[in-house]
């Protein structure tokens, strides 16, 4: 159900007499209900998807029942309500409702995690018309750290009942002039978080660091890599607790970005250390890749083409889950190893030195803009050269390689985007994304086919399940062949002349820098 509500933060809780005085000109009566104490919890995804969409999800819980409410921050806002008997981990587990649909749209596959809990004392007043019909609730809410602790915030809300919007609006118009001096913000969520040193929106896996063009390369790369290391560290707990699939996704993306920057731009002065960390990221890429492939396959499992009898569907899903668990166990063993802990600790110390501008050598001292130009231009040129020659129908390895290079180019552009005009970068990323999507569809069909083949070869499937797997493999092959046909047109669109000229102007290093490049070994 969706209703409109008006909310105000007040310096202190008004008494019933005060509310009655404020509302005196309105025909009707204000009837206070018994006060109630709820445990108020706020929920969001780990990456604050609700907060970023200016939404708040709150749960008021008392006596084994809860009221879930999704709303915005504005003073006047639509709210979705849903009574719940337990708080599920994922929006999809809620009762079918508009609230669930909204949450699914925003949160997608991410789990809902509690942000923090407070105590919420609610004094509800029914505003009744002359027939004794309640037309609006006037709620005075106070929020507390503990049940008997002092009041942190006072909120007044006017919630017209469904079908009584005009009456609710009349109350709002009556009350608002009395509140103008006192009312500050509409919702206490951000202030309550501040009390607990929680920063809403504090986690963001996107690499959006502002770099200075003249900054030393080692310092810039150190900062970028430290940010990525932070993302990896922040996601480790979620991977271990298996909260949702996106912890591993974010970890893996940060890992791949780090690997790309290490390979292409990081002026690490010690060759032995470089080789060691290259090995670390290659291993991480492999060990996270298996688990991620099964995650993706399971997320798409219910949407696989064709119909399968329920028994077959469940049999295959159970086997896929087992495979995923095995891959996850391998990943956890790696993350728990002493070598991983040592490598990560040492990686951090190398990065801190870099961030402080402490690397020796010409490459480390080079302005970051020059390094970024060189990295992006070289990467872009390589893709253009390979892509033009590639015949994907006969060279699937070449296609995989090209896809990896496109990813690396994308990571490079995103890491250094603050050094270039935003519009030009956005345009290039948009074109690159289209090419990546085409190649992604080809590779996804191929990966899915490989996983299905694994199922077929490793497990003794029932005849019906084996038949279903063969049908799905054939479907993957057909999809793969179809997508391959799209490649040439997608690549030609990416590398057309007028765009190429723009990329050249943007990134191609001038001759002097180019000459330097030949003497640099990074």
């Amino acid at each position: 159900m969706q209703d409109t509500v008006y909310r105000y933060i007040l310096p202190e809780a008004p008494t019933v007499e005060c509310l009655r005085r404020w509302l005196a000109p309105q025909a009707g009566s204000l009837v206070p209900q018994a006060g109630r104490v709820y445990r108020r919890s706020y929920f969001d995804t780990f990456d604050w998807r609700l907060y970023r969409k200016h939404r708040v999800l709150e749960l008021d819980w008392a006596a084994g029942r809860g009221q879930l409410r999704l709303h915005g921050f504005e003073r006047e806002q639509a709210q979705h309500l849903l009574p719940v008997e337990r708080m599920p981990a994922f929006p999809a587990e809620l009762t079918a409702s508009r609230l669930r649909r909204q949450l699914e749209k925003i949160c997608d596959v991410r789990a809902l995690l509690p942000v923090a809990n407070w105590f919420h004392r609610l004094q509800r007043h029914d505003f009744r018309d002359v027939n004794g019909k309640t037309v609006a609730y006037i709620d005075v809410s106070t929020f507390h750290d503990r049940r008997d602790a002092e009041v942190l915030y006072v909120q007044l809300s006017i919630a017209p009942l469904r079908g009584y919007v005009d009456q609710g609006d009349a109350l709002r118009r009556q009350l608002e002039p009395q509140l103008t001096l006192a009312a500050q913000q509409a919702d206490p969520f951000e202030q309550l978080c501040r009390e607990r040193d929680i920063v809403p929106g504090g986690y963001d896996a996107r690499l959006i660091l502002a770099l200075e063009p003249d900054e030393r390369t080692d310092a810039s790369l150190g900062r970028l890599q430290l940010f990525l290391l932070g993302v990896m560290e922040l996601n480790e707990a979620g991977i271990r607790d298996d909260i949702d699939t996106e912890f591993l996704h974010d970890y893996r993306v940060a890992c791949r970005r780090s690997r790309t920057l290490l390979q292409q731009a990081m002026p690490l002065p010690d060759e032995e250390a470089r080789a060691r960390f290259k090995t670390l990221f290659a291993e991480l890429s492999r060990v996270t890749g298996d688990c991620r492939d099964w995650d993706v396959f399971l997320l798409e499992f219910d949407h696989l083409p064709g119909d399968a009898p329920a028994g077959v569907h469940d049999e295959l899903r159970a086997i896929c889950r087992d495979e995923r668990e095995r891959a996850r166990a391998r990943l956890l063993r790696y993350l728990d190893s002493a070598r991983y802990a040592r490598d990560m600790r040492d990686w951090r110390s190398w990065l801190e030195r870099a961030a402080a501008g402490g690397y020796a050598g010409e490459a480390a001292a080079m302005p970051i803009k020059a390094t970024a130009d060189r990295v992006i231009w070289r990467s872009y040129r390589g893709i253009r050269k390979r892509g033009r020659k590639l015949k994907p129908e006969t060279d699937i390895e070449g296609l995989h390689e090209l896809r990896k290079r496109c990813k690396k180019l994308r990571y490079g552009i995103e890491a250094f985007r603050s050094l270039y005009p935003a519009a030009a970068i956005d345009h290039l990323i948009k074109r690159l994304k289209k090419l990546q999507n085409t190649m992604g569809a080809i590779v996804d069909a191929s990966t899915q086919g490989d996983l299905l083949l694994q199922l077929h070869e490793r497990h003794s499937l029932s005849a019906a399940a084996a038949g279903r797997v063969q049908q799905l493999i054939a479907d993957c092959d057909a999809r793969h062949a179809r997508c391959l046909q799209d490649f040439r047109a997608a690549f030609d669109r990416f590398s057309r002349k007028q765009d190429h000229a723009a990329v050249k102007r943007l990134f191609k290093p001038n001759r002097i820098e180019h000459a330097d490049e030949n003497t640099r070994h990074v």
Binding site: M1, R65, P83, R100, N131, G132, K133, T134, G163
Partner: protein, 248 residues
């Protein structure tokens, strides 16, 4: 979402009291409930202190398939909403004969509310005409109050025979209403009825003055006499209905 309807061919058997009280019980049990008052007498609407009347009358709903949402009014109780009755509901039969597939019209109109409510409870007028048939098509179950008297049992038998012929999949859930255990006849019928009709619900709603007070209190029993025998009987009746619905 489950669609239920309180129905009986016979008037004065406690349909509206059952609709009003069961809607309240369901809401108190945490369900999101919509009570649709189809009876032009508007008694259920009155009990919930809501002004009867639909903007544009029933024809806006039946002919134009207008969004039901705009007619919904919240009751005084959380998660319980009402579509008030309108005097033009008496013309619904005629209106339904003018549209294509009249039997399916109500189901079609209610369908968009599936995300908003767990239970839609329709309070029907006592008749067996096009509206009733449209309700039979839409409903998952008919809740049929039966006074433990031979005439009322006979009326139930007529409904059952009609539904068996025309709506074989429709579940009928009869229960005794306005039962006076001091009367031997009532006792005897209550004892014998389940043998002939095993689908009958075990909860019995007693004849009680506290139920009649709903008219002056303009509230469901649970709101002013929660501890009364009748209020408890409605709670137990709702629990039984939910169990039957869950059992499939």
């Amino acid at each position: 979402m489950k669609i239920l309807a309180t129905y009986n061919l016979k008037g004065g058997v406690g349909k509206t009291a059952a609709a009003v009280n069961l809607a309240y019980c369901a809401a108190q049990a945490g369900r999101r409930v919509l009570l649709w008052d189809l009876d032009p007498q508007a008694a259920a609407t009155y009990y919930y202190r809501i002004e009867p009347g639909l903007d544009g009358g029933s024809k806006t709903i039946i002919r134009r398939k207008e969004d039901l949402e705009r007619f919904i009014k919240a009751s005084n109780y959380p998660t319980l909403d009402v579509i008030p009755a309108d005097f033009s509901n008496r013309e619904m039969d005629v209106l339904l004969t003018e549209v294509k597939k009249p039997g399916k019209r109500l189901a079609k109109i209610i369908k968009p509310l599936a995300e908003d409510y767990d239970i839609v409870l329709i309070d029907c007028a006592p008749s067996i005409a096009q509206v009733s048939e449209s309700v039979f098509s839409a409903a998952d179950a008919l809740l049929i109050p039966v006074i433990p008297t031979p005439l009322s049992v006979r009326a139930y038998e007529q409904v059952e025979a009609f539904c068996q012929r025309n709506y074989a999949d429709l579940r009928l859930l009869p229960f005794f209403s306005m039962a006076d255990r001091r009367r031997q006849l009532h006792q005897q019928i209550i004892a014998e009825f389940p043998e002939s009709y095993p689908a009958a619900l075990a909860s019995v709603i007693p004849y009680a003055s506290v139920v009649e007070q709903m008219g002056t209190r303009r509230a469901p029993l649970g709101a002013y006499a929660a501890a009364s025998e009748a209020a408890r009987a409605y709670v137990s009746l709702w629990i039984e209905i939910e169990q039957r619905l869950r059992a499939g």
